[in-house]
């Protein structure tokens, strides 16, 4: 982004920040980091309250705004040991990996399903975290963040957090061990009313056999076979079928593979790193101009409608590279050197992505 464009973008951001709402718990205990060139050019900053923070944003308007997941006694102190760590939110990062500069945006919808499963099945269901202590946030770019502020989990260390991520990602999950033959030569396995992976596995098998019986075996296309088998599973008896035990268990691999959540990102150590800075919910992501919006109802969330900085203005931009068609906003494709008029938030998006420049 050139200097001129950055000034225009920052003006738009600044006007948003005047009105923005920042529900940041214990803001005075958090470290802040800001960036224009990189995502974080400066860190170790701290604020006494939201109004001071908002004043800073209105005056300086950085392109990237992050705060620590951690709470500190002295958030502004350096080096980090002097901050005195008091605890940290548990944060999960669901990231979309896709080809090309614009590939990920089409998949924002797909990953919602993982997000819902992460929250409902894992965080609330398995970990027992209170729903009110969880917020879902659009990352402002290619994914979603989940912030967990349950007091019971704030003090757990990096290794413990890693253990939670491994659990969610199914590291070391061996569903074959769910099964064992009993003395009466019955195959005993998980029941659908069990908790954790076992219960989820049983429920998923039942669902699959009901929805798509032949996915496991052609035997189950007959109502009688199917109902008999499912009736057994409900009591933890998986032998009510003529299929051989080993064969049967092997056929369930497709189900087991789908149980973990694969889009949780562990590479960046968001969950594990206890001094990590994360995009401030409701701040703008400088690579897209989209707000890292706190999400109310994930099923209805549409970033282009709900996370855009709204304006009636139309802006003129000139593309400096080819941009493919973007189905989710129904624009494009755009050719290099072509000039276009479009709603301001889309213009800002292409400028922030480095694909276009403003034309006065």
């Amino acid at each position: 982004m050139n200097q001129q464009d950055m000034a225009i973008v920052k003006k738009i951001f600044a006007s948003y920040y005047e009105e923005a709402d920042f529900p940041i718990p214990k803001i005075e205990q958090r470290e802040f980091g800001f960036g224009n060139i990189k995502k974080i050019d400066a860190r170790h900053l701290n604020f006494s309250g939201v109004s001071e923070f908002k004043r800073y944003l209105a005056t300086n308007t950085p392109l990237f705004v992050s705060h620590s997941t951690a709470y500190y006694e002295f958030p502004g102190a350096t080096p980090i040991q002097k901050k005195q760590w008091k605890g940290a939110d548990l944060v999960f990062d669901l990231d979309i990996h896709a080809e090309g500069k614009y590939g990920a945006y089409a998949k924002l919808e797909e990953v919602k399903n993982d997000l819902i499963r992460l929250v409902d099945d894992f965080l609330i269901g398995d970990f027992g975290i209170n729903k009110n202590e969880i917020i879902l946030v659009f990352s402002g770019n290619r994914g979603y963040h989940v912030h967990v502020r349950d007091p019971l989990f704030l003090s757990i260390g990096g290794e413990e957090r890693r253990e939670l991520v491994d659990y969610i990602m199914g590291q070391g999950l061996d569903y074959v061990q769910f099964f064992a033959p009993d003395d009466n030569k019955r195959l005993i396995g998980p029941r659908p009313d069990e908790s954790g992976y076992r219960g989820r596995f049983a429920r998923s098998v039942i669902k699959l056999i009901r929805d798509k019986p032949t996915a496991i075996s052609r035997l189950f296309s007959k109502d009688k076979n199917r109902d008999f088998f499912i009736g057994g599973i409900e009591e933890g008896n998986w032998s009510k079928t003529s299929l051989k035990f080993n064969d049967l268990v092997n056929r369930f691999k497709v189900v087991a593979d789908e149980l973990p959540i694969h889009s949780v990102d562990t590479d960046v150590g968001v969950t594990q790193d206890l001094s990590k800075l994360i995009r401030v919910p409701n701040s703008i992501h400088g690579e897209t101009g989209l707000v890292a919006k706190i999400i109310g109802d994930i099923t209805k969330f549409n970033p282009w409608r709900d996370a855009a900085v709204k304006s009636d203005r139309i802006a003129r931009i000139k593309f400096i590279e080819d941009v493919p068609q973007l189905d989710m906003v129904e624009v494009g494709p755009f050719k290099k050197d072509s000039e276009q008029k479009m709603p301001q938030h889309l213009a800002v998006f292409f400028v922030c992505k480095g694909s276009a420049v403003f034309v006065d």
């Binding site: 398995d126 027992g128 003090s155 253990e163 491994d166 590291q171 069990e194 908790s195 992976y197």
Partner: protein, 309 residues
């Protein structure tokens, strides 16, 4: 009162132990007992002493406190961790002899409070994570989880308490300016023990992150879980380190026992156990980076360095 004193004697980190010794002043005898207590950890004599007199019992409790002061002053990882291992093992034998009520009382000191649901014993997830061991048996994925509670057996509960005691002792706060008695005892102790220089003979940074981390832990005289040791031995054997050298390296560990180590290293070699794949290392809970090499021996540059020390 007598029963209370015995509880305090067995569990010297408890509040009631602190109560008993709060009026005692630091004496040469108490410091000497503290030194002895640390030395006992070095010689692996883990049996508690039989004491009859109340004053002896109180002194013994105080010796735990003075030992902690000495260790907090010395900040010697080897000594501290060795002490932590030994004391937590003693605690485990005590727990095995004690009744459920006492076990609950000790567990509560570390927040290990289980609730019973039918036949099940349930422990809250954050506490479970804090004290669970890094091995497949204790990994969350292999546990029964009920909405924030992990099912544990009575035996596992005792194991978690043992681990909590160990962690508690390992995290001895720094004692900046201790009384002279402590300083002198510390100095004397340092002179008496063998130098605890690391015996790691390979370059830590030329190995995969998970191996490097284990070696670093060992250098710091921190304990390693069973699977970590197994992994390390198979790896070291595979890159050409011999049995003697490996046994020597393992003497950095706080619970080192030469005979046992030599036997186990020899056993692993004889059986020809393979170096586990990355996937297996992951299930051990030992993977700490994303190097995508599939197998630890695929670590770049390792082949040229094979056998190099």
């Amino acid at each position: 009162m007598a029963e209370g004193l015995d509880f305090a004697l067995k569990y010297p980190f408890s509040e009631s132990a602190r109560e008993y010794i709060k009026d005692l002043s630091l004496s040469e005898r108490i410091v000497d007992l503290g030194v002895e207590r640390i030395k006992k950890a070095l010689s692996e004599k883990s049996s508690p002493r039989m004491l009859l007199h109340e004053s002896d019992k109180k002194d013994e409790i105080a010796s735990f406190a003075s030992a902690r002061m000495i260790l907090g002053h010395l900040r010697n990882n080897f000594l501290t961790n060795r002490f932590a291992v030994n004391e937590s093992k003693i605690i485990r034998t005590q727990l095995d002899r004690d009744d459920e009520q006492t076990i609950n009382r000790v567990g509560a000191i570390f927040g290990i409070v289980t609730k019973s649901e039918g036949k099940r014993l349930l422990l809250d997830l954050p506490t479970y994570l804090r004290y669970s061991l890094r091995n497949p048996h204790y990994r969350l994925i292999n546990r029964k989880l009920y909405s924030g509670f992990v099912e544990v057996t009575p035996d596992e509960k005792k194991r978690l308490i043992e681990e909590a005691v160990k962690k508690h002792i390992e995290n001895i706060p720094l004692v900046r300016d201790p009384p002279d008695l402590i300083k002198q005892a510390g100095q004397k102790l340092l002179n008496e023990i063998p130098k605890s220089e690391s015996r790691i003979i390979i370059k830590v940074e030329s190995h995969p992150p998970c191996i490097a981390k284990l070696l670093e832990e060992m250098k710091k005289h921190n304990n390693l879980p069973h699977h970590a040791r197994l992994y390390l031995v198979t790896y070291l054997l595979a890159i050409g380190i011999n049995e003697n050298q490996i046994t020597e390296m393992f003497s950095d560990l706080p619970d080192f026992n030469e005979k046992v180590t030599r036997y186990q290293v020899g056993h692993i070699k004889k059986k020809g156990y393979n170096v586990p794949t990355c996937a297996t290392v992951m299930t051990y809970g030992l993977c700490c980076a994303v190097c995508r090499i599939g197998h630890p021996l695929n670590w770049p540059g390792l082949n040229e360095k094979k056998g190099e020390k």
